[in-house]
Point group: none
Chain length 402, copies 2
């Protein structure tokens, strides 16, 4: 059986007053997701475990059967793989946002007005050397970038430079464990952040943006320091071939970490304008060659982070239309976490999940939603259960015992 796992980023939400106390998913018109739910089995999925607020990285690790408690070492290396950087042993990798600060380094916007590419900005910073350490800077999707430090005596035990709140000064990175290596690494990152401001603030592209009333991308804020650890690939665990179709860099990185081939799709941007139909076409082609295809849809999460339930609803409907064309013997649809519009951030609430394919025990649930799936036959599962169930149903698991 070939199978597709669709992850709709930030899918879950909370009741919204203007939606008659329905969530964006419940309020949206989703005939195709509802059909999959009706012909499949449903439930609620806690990406890490009950009550835990998942990061996008830890959540994807868990959903793909890689226990983050054992294997997670920061988001940086995943983003670096997503940006197709060949990271080496000992490298310290960071994700970074291109952001907007004022001249006192007070944060005005964490995403420089959701700028749609960091390419020119990264080129201005890539390849410098601070205290004998090489600094690689590459663009990731949208306002995101990747920073890799390459040199001797570095550590990933350092804190973030991103306060995650506007209106306050950027943070100094600090050693977490007081080692010489961590202090050195934090020091280099702090120098790099100040340098990025000096270098970017007068960049031509920023002058142009300001003249149009747009926020300049005038600082790069690294966070999520991590060292690369090899994790068991899907080939090693289940003997399967697998591919990834995603716009966002993080998700390509997750795919590469798991040994998937990353299929680049024109128009798959990870942003609001992403071409979902093109992604689904690519998936349909890939299912002929691969045992498992991972399809990731990012922008729904961003609408939640922007606190925009109408947009979130529309994007869910866009996903629903695209999914009507999805062809696979076994389809699993879920989210990687909830991103309630009222919170504008990830939350602990579980996300609905459905599995549809031959032989599935249907459960009578007719609608794909946070509350309808409370009655689903899968009950409450965790992220680590997802691949176990999917691989067993698809025939790629073996008997435990005899």
């Amino acid at each position: 059986m070939n199978c597709v796992i669709v992850i709709i980023d930030g899918l879950g939400d909370r009741p919204i007053k203007e939606f008659k106390n329905k969530t964006p998913l419940e309020y949206a018109n989703t005939p195709n997701l509802n059909k999959l739910a009706s012909n499949g089995i449903t439930g609620l999925m806690h990406p890490i475990k009950k009550g835990i607020i998942p990061g996008s990285d830890t959540s994807h690790f868990s959903i793909f059967g890689v226990d983050p408690e054992k294997y997670y070492s920061g988001r940086g290396p995943i983003e670096a793989l997503g940006a197709n950087i060949k990271i080496k042993n000992g490298d310290i990798a960071f994700r970074a946002n291109l952001a907007t600060v004022d001249s006192n380094l007070v944060l005005k916007d964490r995403r420089a007005g959701r700028i749609d590419s960091t390419k020119e900005f990264c080129e201005a910073l890539d390849g410098m050397n601070i205290d004998g350490v090489e600094i690689i800077v590459k663009p990731s999707s949208w306002y995101r970038a990747v920073v890799v430090l390459r040199g001797n005596g570095l550590s990933d035990k350092i804190s973030s430079t991103d306060p995650k709140l506007t209106g306050c000064r950027i943070l100094d990175s600090k050693s977490i464990n007081s080692t010489k290596e961590a202090k050195k690494t934090a020091d280099i990152i702090n120098k790099f952040v100040l340098f990025s401001y000096e270098k970017l603030k007068d960049l031509k592209i920023n002058k142009e943006r300001e003249s149009k009333g747009l926020l300049p991308g005038n600082i790069l804020l690294p966070r999520g320091a991590g060292k690369f650890n090899k994790i068991p690939t899907l080939k090693e665990r289940y003997g399967i071939s697998s591919a990834c179709v995603a716009g966002g860099g993080l998700y390509k990185g997750v795919g590469r970490y798991l040994g998937m081939d990353v299929i680049e799709v024109e128009g798959a941007t990870g942003r609001y304008d992403s071409d979902y139909d093109a992604k689904v076409s690519a998936v349909n082609k890939a299912t002929k060659e691969y045992n498992l295809v991972f399809l990731h849809m990012k922008a729904i999460d961003s609408a939640g982070e922007d606190g925009n339930p109408r947009l979130k609803k529309e994007l869910i409907e866009k996903v629903d239309r695209a999914i009507s064309k999805l062809q696979s013997e076994l389809i699993l649809v879920t989210g990687d976490h909830s991103t309630p519009c009222e919170l504008k951030r990830h939350s602990y609430e579980p996300v609905p999940i459905l599995i549809c394919g031959s032989g599935i025990r249907t459960d009578g649930v007719k609608k794909f939603g946070e509350r309808s799936c409370m009655q689903g036959g899968l009950g409450h599962i965790t992220g680590l259960d997802v691949m176990s169930i999917l691989m067993s149903h698809a025939g790629f698991s073996s008997l435990y015992g005899s």
Copy 2:
């Protein structure tokens, strides 16, 4: 409170078209199981954990509260205990099928036409000596037998001789860990398998079978090598007395492993013709003497392995009729795994469970089935939860803390 735990082997299934997309259990007429469900609490039980395909041995360990991750060491020792062999430290035990091969040792039938006894065949092979190692061969239920190697320097780290597929040659057993002991043991098993063919092919009983158009039992194929490890008995864990009523050798072996007295019942064959009424009568007698009685019903699983949903449904109805006579203060009914007729093998799907007795919180579920129990008050539990719940309800557990 005395209690009975009824395990219906291979109980769970998938929707079947000719049954209006009901499972054999859902389609069967089961007024007595439904009455127990109505008066009890229900749920779904994952014998190992969600998504894992349980073997019959690991599943029974787990349901009786013995974590297979800690204690399981292959099926052989359990089958040997089931055949009432007094295994000793250092012995290596195997389960074995009496099978049919052609003269090129290509497998024609893994069960010699589901031959109903291996007694004469085992007698022809029992007691031989190969390279200084004594070989004990005893019949188990139906087409099954047990092989025990007794001697110095043996290992259980060897592979199976049973390809589990017809149309291909039997397998050579091989060392799994490349030790001298494993190589020696695999070598002896390979010699034994060839010897069994030479000895059995011309056996009088086979000539008779062939003249009737039946498949000969002309080879014995050992698999599931294991060393005996003592496990905590029910007496040690809960201070209770317990007994086992089962036809199949494996289940008697599980009972003996757990320290149960095995009650032999005439007509309890583990086959389609097994006398369920006689077994239930034996259980009713035993509940007067023992705190816990384990009743195992095997043949339902065999109907699933044979891909015969009508027979599976009929056997479930036969279980249901027998259960109407069951007398106990506390009754738990479940399966050890699903064996969907469409797969003809074990699968990962959970099995329904019910617990009925005084003081139980009923949950409104009126029908014992895979999907009705999705709404049950127990929710989704695992095998390791079963004895915890049952023993606490029966009053055999103590407070954790104070």
